[in-house]
Symmetry: C2
Subunit: 333 residues, 2 copies
């Protein structure tokens, strides 16, 4: 394993020149440059990044905190992050936290111990979620919520939920249910706000029975469907907004199993627009979040922060898209 000294010796220049030839070639004469490159070739030199990063006080690595990597939406955001980081010569350390606080702390330690230069958090900010923001830790939140007290990239969740609910109302539905995430989850709160606003604007009183709590998994969506199935048909919502596509898919399964047809007896709208939603039966009407773009924007923000630059804005809102497919149909008395 050759080092910079070997290269310098073979090239007949100083190690400083070799170092410069690699990191700032424009400050080195053409002649030296060639000698260095030839020497590098000859001794098969590969710079030791461990040493370089140590010297530069930079890891050129970030960590991304993901609640669950098997969730397609998160995976897609991560892809966006990774794409930008790769282009900038940064590595992305995966921190699949499995919703465990301990794991989050473990990964954050990587930043504190300099193994990573910053962190992107894919879990929405929660009050009492004191882990971030944290002094000395450069962080950006991706796909989170309103009032995040550190830089973040997101969509207008309340607006999106309102858009979807408005649409169901326009289809003639009067009783509209909702499947939420955990009740304290900020996504639940923001989206519920939009849902309620829509109903209120339409002069419809919100009914507690219309809200079923899930936890953003298909399984919990299926369970949530049971809740609605237990309601008397004349009180049962005729349409449901699910706060993500996974739960919508689970709910469809649940309704089907109980003989409730989707969309004939029950319209359903999802949230996120993960890939499988268009292949679901029926194809899911949903709010499309620009997942990859969110990841890219978050990555660019973090990069700027790491370089010590100012951010133009610290609450960056990207547009969502409302995609109508087959799971939502007009109410038929």
């Amino acid at each position: 394993m050759s080092n910079i000294r070997d290269v310098a010796k073979v090239a007949g220049v100083s190690i400083a020149t070799v170092s410069r030839a690699l990191s700032a070639p424009e400050t080195v004469s053409k002649k030296s440059l060639k000698k260095v490159h030839d020497a590098i070739e000859q001794v098969q030199y590969k710079p030791n990044m461990l040493a370089r990063n140590f010297r530069r006080h930079r890891a050129f690595t970030i960590v991304v905190l993901v609640p669950n990597m098997a969730n397609t939406f998160f995976a897609t955001v991560v892809r966006g992050i990774e794409d930008v980081m790769q282009q900038h010569g940064f590595g992305v350390l995966l921190g699949d936290t499995r919703d465990q606080r301990k794991r989050e702390e473990e990964y954050l330690k990587l930043v504190e111990t300099r193994q990573a230069d910053g962190v992107i958090q894919l879990r929405p900010y929660w009050e009492g979620d004191s882990i971030l923001p944290k002094d000395d830790i450069i962080a950006v939140n991706a796909a989170g919520c309103e009032d995040t007290p550190y830089p973040c990239v997101r969509i207008d969740n309340a607006g999106a939920a309102k858009t979807a609910t408005d649409y169901l109302l326009s289809l003639g539905h009067k009783r509209i249910g909702v499947i939420t995430g955990l009740s304290e989850n900020p996504h639940t709160i923001d989206r519920l706000k939009g849902y309620r606003q829509s109903l209120t604007d339409a002069g419809i009183e919100c009914c507690d029975e219309w809200v079923a709590e899930g936890e953003f998994t298909m399984w919990s969506g299926l369970n949530a469907a049971q809740h609605f199935i237990r309601l008397a048909p004349e009180e049962r919502p005729t349409a449901i907004l699910s706060m993500n596509d996974e739960m919508a898919i689970g709910a469809i399964k649940g309704f089907r199993a109980a003989g409730i047809k989707v969309p004939e007896d029950m319209s359903i709208i999802g949230f996120d627009d993960i890939e499988v939603s268009r292949y679901a039966e029926p194809a899911l009407t949903t709010i499309a979040q620009p997942a990859e773009e969110i990841g890219k924007a978050a990555a660019n923000m973090l990069l700027r922060l790491i370089e010590g630059k100012e951010l133009r804005q610290s609450d960056y809102i990207l547009p969502y898209e409302f995609v109508v497919r087959s799971s939502s149909v007009p109410f038929t008395g």
Copy 2:
């Protein structure tokens, strides 16, 4: 930002003692240990891992090469890898290669430049895929195929495909189609082998028209369905083995759209058992790969290799499970 010297000064010991207190506490007296820990507390010391790793010639990081992180099966394997690595104090650098050779090389460079100690490749070994194995690069292949010329963890792909095909035959199907990945893909080759073996054993001649090439995406599965739809009904397979669940889901969509009912007119079997398969309509019969276990086993193998230990075996085969759900039914003349 305090360093080891500050701690030593406050504790009234040498930096060597501080170092030992952290890396080999058993070699330090109780008394010194306490002084050191108190000092660490007092000056808020966080060891600089960049320096430590540099000194130890270890990155305590591995990179995982994933063709597509948005694919649930891959994401699940990665979760397994990450879980084991985390427990051993190793970070996992994400290398989403998007099936691009250039990206793979880029990420492999991290190992060559010591930023990572080894690599786990989730793409099956291909002849002419000369990128791995490579001298000086510690690597393990996960979820690959037969005859991988470096350590690997996988299932018996041919056997699994045969199991699934045998099952369709036992259901009375005589014309059985298959949706493959790209024809040169080793997974395609291995699984096709099992499929053909099954038919041959049953005395059925394989028909070229029964094979539709996909590329492991839902979209390509839908396209593959078109191929079968174009065949005359009396020549069309009555059952199909899809080489992954995504394509199976896409194919179901395609058949449905053409008025071919699944499973009544067409039985379908998938491969992988990703989470959504049980929620699909109809729920997918499939080969369940122990994705997370494959990841864990691969991680443990790599760890052993990094520590310079011998491997007990270098082709580690894990059991698969055949999961019967609703997408496969008996042939009804």
